[in-house]
Symmetry: D2
Subunit: 330 residues, 4 copies
């Protein structure tokens, strides 16, 4: 249950009484109790401005609490959610490989009107015997691109040992699918105000996914976007299965912006354009699309990255689809 | 391997030699051997016009064999596949419930410019203690709607005991997801020329799905469309998970038209419009959308059927999305 | 809800009133209503001997209705379930390939004290271009083995077109995993008294699995055993995933004997012995194990069949495990 | 490929040449290259004692490299793997809840001859609004139990922020299913010699599971056991699906001891005894079974923990099953 409580209440005592989280807003406190609690104690009623009983621990993210999509501001001119109807295009290579490579992509972004550059520094690879990313050196290169080209920078955190570094160097923090349950990361991200893109674990339910977002929201950071990137199913002809039914569920039941990553879901460049158009037609808030100057030589995820020519053709087609559903690619 | 063989060859001997299927075309025979066979015997080479070695038993349906989408004609003016860029809208209730109900839907179809009416007669319900459909009586009612309104009729076969009845009464035969492997049905459907809509089993791989279509193609019926309708995954907030990555695979690797059924995948009416727009943006050949005059009183699948008002709003939005990707809803 | 109703009641009227199934027993009728019905109408209470409200459409198979495992008699000396503590060993090759092959296996069964011979005649293969079984000719060979060696015979039905043949020729009817929802087959099997081994579809839930058994039970055949044979998951290093958690559920909640098929679940002979011992330690009622005189030359499922030497070693070890859990291999 | 290289070789140069990991053993270096490398350069052959080309990045854990199960020593008298035929019983509550609770369980362990006590301190709960464990205070209580009763202590790491604490306080480190890919944790565990129990992620393949173990092995810690604890499938009647087919695969293809956790897989106490007997019959190296003095009042996982009476009955039955397969519960 979420309670809006007057400022004059003893919030510490209430928090203790209900084993609850509290957030301070300008005019009131927000108290979030376990969802099993459905009733306010008689003695506390005088302090309660408003109450929102919840069926599950999807609470702050629930569309029954805040009934429209939350707005995230990247800067004054770059927002998603709220009443913007924007679909943000985020693109870049799977990994930062070298200054030359990332600079080429950054220039391409500028030329294409893309405002957010993505690239991995810490690669959550499953084998120890493959490329693990440039790490801290990659962060420095990304920051350089920001300074040089005015792009916003996003990279992925893979474990809690480098979360502070990523928070320091980037504008947007991406929590990787394999780290969705990582409380060390979630806690660190809840204490800042930078936007967080939380990826769904490929074996995680929608309920668990949104509950991971609740860890961030209940810690005080409202700038969380949910990123569906494909779940693991029995089908192996494609890398994962993009769960657009799940996206329809999230749009109906939560108030968080939704970003889709068809590149990782598909795993093969040939399917990315059709899938991306499908994503845009769903009316979502953002896209993560992998592009690389020379996909065949990429050090990771070679098969799923678009080359520049393919990306340009795709982007052109997206504008039309977005327009057909009352949206705009930014 | 597929071989095109001269008419003067002893086709029966070849069929025996290669343990192969054969089809007769105007100018040549088509011989389909197990895919493990990659070489033509020296003595037969003189009869072979063309040969297509295959990596798996996706053969006649393979885009390496026929390199564009096969065309299916429902009548002169109603085709999908080929160079048509048509996306066929098929709609109607989950089940035929009464003459009044199906007549109301049929009138609605006519008013909306819909040309194909769907409704179940034999319901593949999982419990013996729930509504099992009107059976043969339902078929008669559907045939009546065809005669009265000039609509094409499609209904689902659930087991081989009524396949002949369905073939006799309907224009298009839908093979249900639970019957995808049913050789009795596949064999019967391979011997006719009516269009077949083959639904993917919800636990079936793409490979198995297309191989079921091969049973129909290799028996001599080329009019097969593949219908993705959601696969079963660990996610239970939605009924199934619509596999659009799989659709991207099918478009790339097979030559069969693709029809999507977002209603069954989602299981909830609220998600159907967004998903349907996503399907259309994929550039597919047809849609199955469930509509009912009064979904709340439907005898089956009550939660996922659109009411008429919702359907009208959806259809309007689809025309725009279709146009954005160079297609037309028919 | 299941009702036991006095013989003097107008059973047809009750059946109509409750949209119910009825079965006639010596002393009373058994009426099975949809599970949503929880109350007996006041006017009928005088005829009702006993009532069993149910939470779902697992009704006749529910352990809340019949509280111990139902007994199935293959003949006077060969029973499972009830108070027998027997674990029935059923073995044989994947397919009948020739008279010589099946005779060799039959002799092996006799030598090993095995009483039930299994072998497929109609193979539910997913590709049309591979071996489809000997069909009717296979049934005749199996019947010959029964006559020659006194073995009970079991084979699999794959679609409704040959269910009557299988019923006529075999002692036990196996309903294949791909045919679990086939109402034509379920109906035919519900009208006889021969034992039925119902295999779980590899994409089917436990609820659907038991509900398929309800189709047979509610039609009047109580001799149904449930066979778990592996479900399809994202793991591909093994053919399927044997669901022993599901077996624990079935033992707790249903009253039907349980037979396990580790051969199909694993797909590789190397894992079959360990898995079979695990199955026996679960305290189940039967086993299906594939054996072949020469697995490498088998026309189907070559990789998962044990050779005779492997089978002998396995069987010896099973007697000890069975004894450790108070059971006996028969 | 794994290479055994003479001590006189320039190992740093080789490591660089092959982008390889190296470990120092008494008589030689072990060099592990990416598995794609299959050939030793001509100029290096004189230093290579032995070479083991590998098909995938399952290398140090591969049974083709070390052909029997690795041995893990907890102390002189308590070993698993190697030629011990021991199956180690690890038990305790889901969470440390209070000193009284954990002391009660510790006394119970002593009385039952159990040598390893498990209990969670950092709970990887999916909702922020439920009990999150006692954290550091729990570690202190566990250490107290070790000192008081001579038990070995195991607890679970959930993210990299507390891995050093857990390493300091416990004898065995359990890496939680949700942390299987956490490189911060894997790296820390690779630098110590304490035994590691690595749990399989519930959405992780066997390949990824063993590759996570490779991170620890290649860092220099050979004491890794693999723990299967149920994977996520479409079946929801049980909490997870215990993958014993996967266990058969791991036994055949890897050299790491295997520990099974049927409690988490099943999620319901009623199924735990049958499943545990099945696990023991598989011939595995250890068991994690949850017990609680009063499961109904447990603060987490209430439904799946055995009470003491149930545990005693189970343990008695396990000795017989273990003996039937040539093993001993320790």
């Amino acid at each position: 249950m979420i309670l809006h409580v007057q400022k004059k209440a003893n919030i510490a005592a209430l928090q203790d009484f209900y084993r609850a989280y509290s957030l301070e807003e300008k005019d009131h406190y927000v108290l979030i109790t376990p969802s099993a609690i459905k009733e306010v104690d008689e003695s506390h009623k005088k302090f309660v401005i408003d109450s929102f009983p919840m069926e599950s621990d999807i609470q702050l993210a629930n569309r029954k609490y805040i009934t429209s999509t939350r707005k995230i501001e990247f800067n004054e001119d770059l927002c998603i959610g709220g009443d913007t109807n924007n679909t943000l295009m985020i693109t870049g290579p799977c990994s930062v490989e070298s200054e030359e490579q990332i600079d080429t992509v950054a220039q391409f972004c500028v030329a294409q009107g893309i405002k957010v550059l993505r690239a991995g520094c810490y690669k959550p690879r499953t084998s120890p015997y493959t490329f693990q990313g440039l790490g801290h050196k990659g962060l420095i290169l990304l920051a350089k691109m920001r300074d040089k080209y005015g792009l916003k920078i996003i990279t992925e955190v893979k474990d809690a040992t480098h979360v502070d570094d990523v928070i320091e160097f980037t504008d947007i923090i991406q929590i990787g699918a394999k780290a969705m349950y990582d409380h060390g990361i979630l806690r660190a991200c809840s204490k800042i105000q930078k936007p967080i893109v939380l990826k769904r674990g490929f074996g995680s339910t929608l309920q668990e996914f949104v509950q991971s977002a609740e860890f961030i929201l209940s810690g005080g950071n409202n700038n969380v976007a949910l990123c569906e990137r494909g779940i693991r199913t029995y089908e192996t002809k494609t890398r994962f299965t993009l769960d657009l039914c799940g996206v329809a569920y999230l749009k109906e039941h939560t108030n968080l912006p939704i970003i889709l990553d068809p590149s990782h879901a598909m795993g093969y460049a040939y399917g990315v354009p059709d899938l991306t158009r499908a994503c845009v037609a769903m009316g979502i808030d953002g896209l993560l699309i992998e592009t690389h100057p020379n996909p065949k030589e990429a050090k990771s995820d070679a098969s799923q990255q678009l080359n520049f020519e393919e990306f340009i053709a795709l982007k052109k087609s997206l504008d039309k689809v977005a327009s057909a559903v009352g949206r705009k690619i930014v």
